[in-house]
Amino acid sequence: MTQVGIPRGLFYFYQYPLWKTFFRDLGAEVVTSSSTGRQTIDVGIVHTVDECCLPIKVYFGHIHELIQLRPDYIMAPRLVSIEYRSYICPKFMGIPDMIRASLPDCPPLIDITIDCSRDTRQLWKDIYRVGALFNADRRKVKSAYEHGLQALKSLCVLTRQGYTQHEAIELWENYCLEQAELNSGDLTVGVLGHGYSLYDPAVSLQLIERLRGLGCKAVLLESCPRDAVEQAAAQIPKKMFWTLGRKMLGSALVMDQSADIDGIVYLACFGCGPDSMVGDIVGRKVRHKPFMLVTIDEHSGEGGLVTRLEAFCDMLRRKKVQKLESDLSAYGIHAHCR
């Protein structure tokens, strides 16, 4: 049976059910690397240039692990765009070439180009090309892909309930999962960030789990109403051309106006291009809620993060009880009066 390896990094957290269903329907066996651990990160660091952001390093760690398993193919798509006139990040566009440059002994890559910025014709051509690898005719390929899209929809149902993409994937795969306490807690905190860093517990240093542990209900991007998010994101003068960045900005603006959100936490990656701009824009636009930006890199000391989260929660609770503090914005006119 042909084996296809899917690394547990980057768009794994958004698209895994799609590709797993797709390849299974084509008659292939899907293998994944194990969950991100310290080992993954360390190996990833060795095989990438220093300047890469942590998610890319982690991804290379997963690829390296998959290479040891020697599957017939490794799924490493060239992700350009997943919707009209929007992009993901330049690094995603060079992923297959970067892998070939730094890991020369890897098995053949399935490096289809996912580019929906103009139309989906090229994407379908590439999907049929992949289907041909498994001797599948066009009809079979098409139905496999559509089946995959359905799997993605069922994932959306789970994430809308407040599960992270990571938890939703575990549930979808029928692994037993300790029922997370989703809706309890006296605080409600909006948590934003690129899914591949926020939902990977090893990368985000369990940010969401820690917040839950501190008595917060975490509201995620995926559970915000989509139309409201798009509407809010359209308020700024120039449409943001990063898909994930636009969604984060829109959700932040929705959360800013929503009465039951107590505060917003934004997880950024050191060296991430979109984060360096979006994090700042969000910080500038969020005027009614306390806002905290956390930057992570491969540094693994979690004490600093824990302290900041505890302090943030303490502050939110005090603000709730005392009702004395105004909503001082970290930016803008107020800040410059100082």
């Binding site: 690094k91 051309f241 990063w242 291009g273 360096s276 930057t295």
Partner: protein, 378 residues
């Protein structure tokens, strides 16, 4: 309306000439200095790349000297540059400056869209005058590029390096003031002659290609004047990016003349078959091109955390091995110490000389490329 714009190499001379041709009062920002950078660092988001910070510093200094309109280029991703103007405008608004921002977006398909944008900048300008202004500015730019190439050619070959640099500074200021094509031609001819007459030495030369992100290549302040440092080490530098080409490719979508881009992309194809935004593919392609032309080495420059250059840097590891060309990557950030860069450039030049000498001795020994990446922060 007093118009200003960000600095990039000698672009201010060209843009100033253009806007004055459109009957606009122009405030050229003061030359980039530590003060400019300090202003940019203070107000810009911490992790954005260097060109945004320097540009912001330019605006603040220009607005302080009386400008009220900023002209800036836009873009449509995936590189951060396309969102620069938006972020900079928000920052300046929050700082309380009163100004308007004109953002020139590259046209989707039609060149007329761009001309419309340009026309809106002008005041009571006839179409003929607008065309003349564009053509005269272009003439200045072409002359400056010719002079720069000659300067980069002369600097490593002459003994009197100070004089060569002085001449270049003179050309810059004279062309800035020139009011006619005749004057530009005279200045150019004069400078060429003066460079020609400088005393030469007969030491062996190195040829180094400079590739990377466009701003860092073109703006000497942002790369700590790497071309000059290398020229003083008797290494001739060739820029992979020229302003005329860059404008032709990005703003005019290749409508002006046939660019080298097709060739560069073809060079990049075995290593990076598609665009990765910014200048990533051009960096890879130009490196292959330099290797095929027999250059001794390639230096890649870029601002720290530049996404397309990180992709290119990763791929250069392979290019270096397969095309047998030593590559070095230097990222620049707000750190301003020059000694670290100088040491690395000297070491790189020494290594290239040694490699060249070894190859001359044992011409059958094929050496693999050496790659090292260094941070400007040291």
């Amino acid at each position: 309306m007093k118009v200003t714009f960000p600095h990039m190499g000698f672009m201010h001379i060209v843009v100033k000439s253009l806007l004055e041709g459109l009957h606009r009062e122009v405030v050229v920002p003061p030359p980039i200095s530590q003060h400019t950078l300090a202003l940019g660092i203070k107000y810009a988001p911490e992790f954005t790349c260097l060109p945004l910070k320097i540009g912001l510093g330019n605006y603040i200094e220009a607005l302080e000297s009386g400008a009220d309109t900023i002209v800036m280029a836009g873009g449509w991703g995936p590189c951060r540059f396309g969102y620069y103007a938006q972020v900079q405008r928000d920052i300046l608004n929050d700082l309380g400056y009163d100004f308007q921002m004109v953002i020139l977006e590259a046209p989707d398909s039609k060149i007329s869209q761009l001309l419309d944008q340009l026309k809106r900048l002008g005041e009571k300008v006839s179409f003929l005058e607008a065309v003349q202004a564009v053509r005269f500015a272009w003439y200045k730019m072409a002359a400056l590029e010719k002079a720069e190439q000659r300067y980069l050619y002369t600097l490593p070959r002459t003994i009197d390096k100070d004089r060569a640099e002085q001449l270049w500074e003179q050309v810059l200021s004279h062309i800035d003031q020139a009011g006619s094509r005749k004057a530009i031609d005279d200045i150019l001819a004069q400078a060429m002659l003066s460079w020609e007459n400088l005393p030469r030495h007969h030491e062996p030369l190195l040829r180094i290609g400079l590739v990377g992100e466009v701003y860092t290549v073109l703006e000497p302040f942002s790369n700590q004047n790497i071309a000059r440092s290398l020229g003083r080490l008797n290494a001739e530098v060739t820029n992979s990016v020229q302003l005329t080409e860059w404008l032709n490719d990005n703003l005019f979508k290749g409508h002006l003349f046939k660019s080298r881009t097709t060739h560069i992309n073809a060079c990049a194809r075995p290593y990076l078959p598609c665009s990765v935004g910014g200048h990533g593919r051009e960096t890879v392609g130009a490196t292959v091109d330099f290797a095929q032309q027999g250059y001794d080495g390639v230096i890649q420059v870029g601002p720290l955390t530049c996404m397309p250059e990180i992709v290119a840097q990763t791929i250069l590891l392979r290019v270096s091995k397969e095309e047998h060309i030593p590559c070095m990557t230097i990222y620049f950030d707000e750190h301003s110490g020059t000694a670290g860069i100088q040491t690395r450039l000297e070491a790189f030049a020494d290594m290239l000389r040694r490699r060249k000498a070894l190859q001359a001795d044992y011409s059958d020994v094929q050496q693999g490329g050496n790659v090292c990446a260094v941070h400007a922060r040291g």
